[in-house]
Symmetry: C2
C-alpha cells in the first residue's frame, strides 16, 4: 500500500484517487465509512449476496422490477470476483461494511466476509442513485439533502413490486424537491441512465404513491420543500433490500447502507443515448 492509500490521504484525494486504489484502501482496512463523495465519476453499487437456492428468484425479481433493481453485474455462483465491476474486485473485502441477515433480521455488521463466504453464494450488484446525483449536480441542479447535509428522504409506497418467489413487497422511492424547470432537466438527464434507476417514476402529489406525509420518511431524513417546488420521486435501491429482508432467508448479506462498492464503471459509460 503506497502513501496515497493512507486514510487521511484517501480523504484528501477523494476526487483523484482511482476506484482500484480506493478498493485497495478498503481491503487493507485503511478506509472504513460511507463512500458518498469518493471517486465521483464512477458508479457505486448496492450489494446483495445470497445462496444459489434463492438466486434465480432474486434475479427474476430484479429483472421484473428494473427501475428499483437495475443490475450492474451478477457473479458466477461461488465467485467473489465479478469482472464486470472492476479490476481484481474481491467482493468479500472491498466493501467498507457488510450487514449479515438471518431470517430477515440484522444479525451482525462486519468489515470482511472471509469467514462467512460460502461456495454457493451469488453476488448481485445493483445501480445506485449516487451516479445520477453526480450528473444532476454537474448540471447545476441543487440537491436539497446535500445542501442540508443529511441523507436523502426515502418512502415506502403502496405500489407492489412484481413478485418472484419469496421476493415481493412494495416499491421504495427516494424524493428530491425541485423547481419545475429543474425537474424537467432531471427527467432528461436521468432518463439516459436506466442502469442507475433511470427517470423518476412520479412528480407531485405524494398520495398517488400512497405516501401520507412527506415530513416522515421511512428511511433517511426529511428535507425542506420550498414554495413552488415539486417533489420528484425515483425508484430506490432500498427496494431490493427490504424485499430481501421480508423474504426471511436463513442467510443473506448486503452492504451496510451508505457503505457501497466503488466500481470501475464510469458513470458516463452507463448513458444509453
Amino acid at each position: 500500500m503506497n502513501h496515497r492509500a493512507m486514510p487521511n490521504d484517501v480523504l484528501s484525494q477523494r476526487d483523484t484517487i482511482t476506484p482500484f486504489e480506493f478498493r485497495q484502501a478498503v481491503r487493507s482496512g485503511q478506509f472504513r465509512g460511507p463512500t458518498a463523495g469518493y471517486c465521483g465519476d464512477f458508479a457505486q453499487a448496492n450489494l446483495a449476496i445470497l445462496p444459489m437456492a434463492y438466486a434465480h428468484d432474486f434475479l427474476r425479481f430484479c429483472q421484473s422490477n428494473p427501475k428499483a433493481c437495475p443490475l450492474l453485474g451478477v457473479g458466477e455462483p461461488g465467485q467473489w470476483h465479478v469482472p464486470a465491476l472492476g479490476r481484481e474486485v474481491d467482493i468479500r473485502a472491498d466493501v467498507p461494511g457488510y450487514n449479515i441477515y438471518r431470517e430477515g433480521k440484522l444479525a451482525k455488521q462486519v468489515d470482511n466476509l472471509a469467514e462467512y463466504w460460502q461456495s454457493d453464494f451469488v453476488v448481485f450488484a445493483i445501480g445506485c442513485s449516487f451516479s445520477f446525483e453526480d450528473m444532476l449536480a454537474k448540471a447545476g441542479i441543487p440537491l436539497r439533502h446535500v445542501e442540508e447535509g443529511c441523507n436523502v428522504p426515502m418512502y415506502r409506497t403502496k405500489i407492489g413490486n412484481q413478485r418472484a418467489g419469496k421476493f415481493g413487497g412494495e416499491l421504495v422511492v427516494s424524493m428530491r424537491p425541485m423547481k419545475g424547470a429543474d425537474a424537467i432537466r432531471a427527467v432528461q438527464i436521468t432518463s439516459r441512465f436506466p442502469g442507475v434507476h433511470g427517470a423518476p417514476i412520479h412528480i407531485g402529489d405524494p398520495s398517488a404513491l400512497g405516501i401520507e406525509n412527506l415530513a416522515k420518511p421511512e428511511f433517511g431524513d426529511a428535507v425542506t420543500i420550498r414554495d413552488g417546488e415539486l417533489p420528484v420521486y425515483w425508484a430506490c435501491g432500498v427496494t431490493p433490500q427490504t424485499a430481501l429482508m421480508e423474504a426471511k432467508l436463513p442467510l443473506a448479506i448486503a452492504h451496510r447502507p451508505g457503505y457501497m462498492l466503488v466500481t470501475d464503471i464510469p458513470n458516463a459509460s452507463l448513458a444509453v443515448f
Copy 2:
C-alpha cells in the same frame, strides 16, 4: 383533381390522404378550415411571411428563441416554393387561410396570396405542437383539450424573449394538465423533438412564469385541471406571431391560427435521438 380531393372525401380520409393530396385540395379551394387531425403522421407548420428588410432580424429572433420558434424551413428571398417543406409546395396557395397584418393589426383574412405576393418576401415555417401531441396521444397520454373538444389553453408569460431588432415581447406557453407519471413520459417524448418545441419549459406553479390565473388563458380555451394533476407548459408557436404583431411592420403575413401548412416532413423524422 381526382375524387379523393373532394371536400367530403378529404374529411373522410383524414388519415390516409397524403400531405401532397391535402395541399392540392387546399390549392383548388376544395378544402377550407382548421387542419388539426389531418395527415397526423406529418408535421404541420406555423407560417410567417415578411419583407426582406425585416427577415434577417426575424431569423435572428427565431434562432435566439428556439423553443418557441423552431424553424422547419426558411425560403430563399422572393420564393414561394420552399423545397424543405414538401413536394411542389406553393406557399401562396397551399395554406387554407392567411392573416394579412398592417402596422401590427389584422387588416384582412384571405384564402390566397396571389395578389399580395411581393418579390422581396421571405417565408418562415415554424414547428407546431400538433406534431408532439400526435406522439403523446400515441403513447397513451390523454390530452385534456382534446377530451373537452376545445383549443389548447395558451398564456402570455412574464418571461421576456431574446430581442432581435424590432422583434421581442414575451414568451407564450401552451399548457396541458397531466398526472405526474404522464408528465415524466411527456418530458421524455417531447425532448426528442426540438423541431416542434421540444421539452416543456416548466411544470407546476404558474406564478413562476408570471401567470396569474390558469382559468383565464389569453389564447385558446380554459381546460379542467383535476386533483393531483400538474400543469405542464410548453413554449408555443403563438410567441413569434405576437412578436410579429408587436413589431408593427408595414406589412406581414401569417397563417390564420389553426389553418396550418401541412408539410411532407414525417413527424418521426424530427426525432434527434
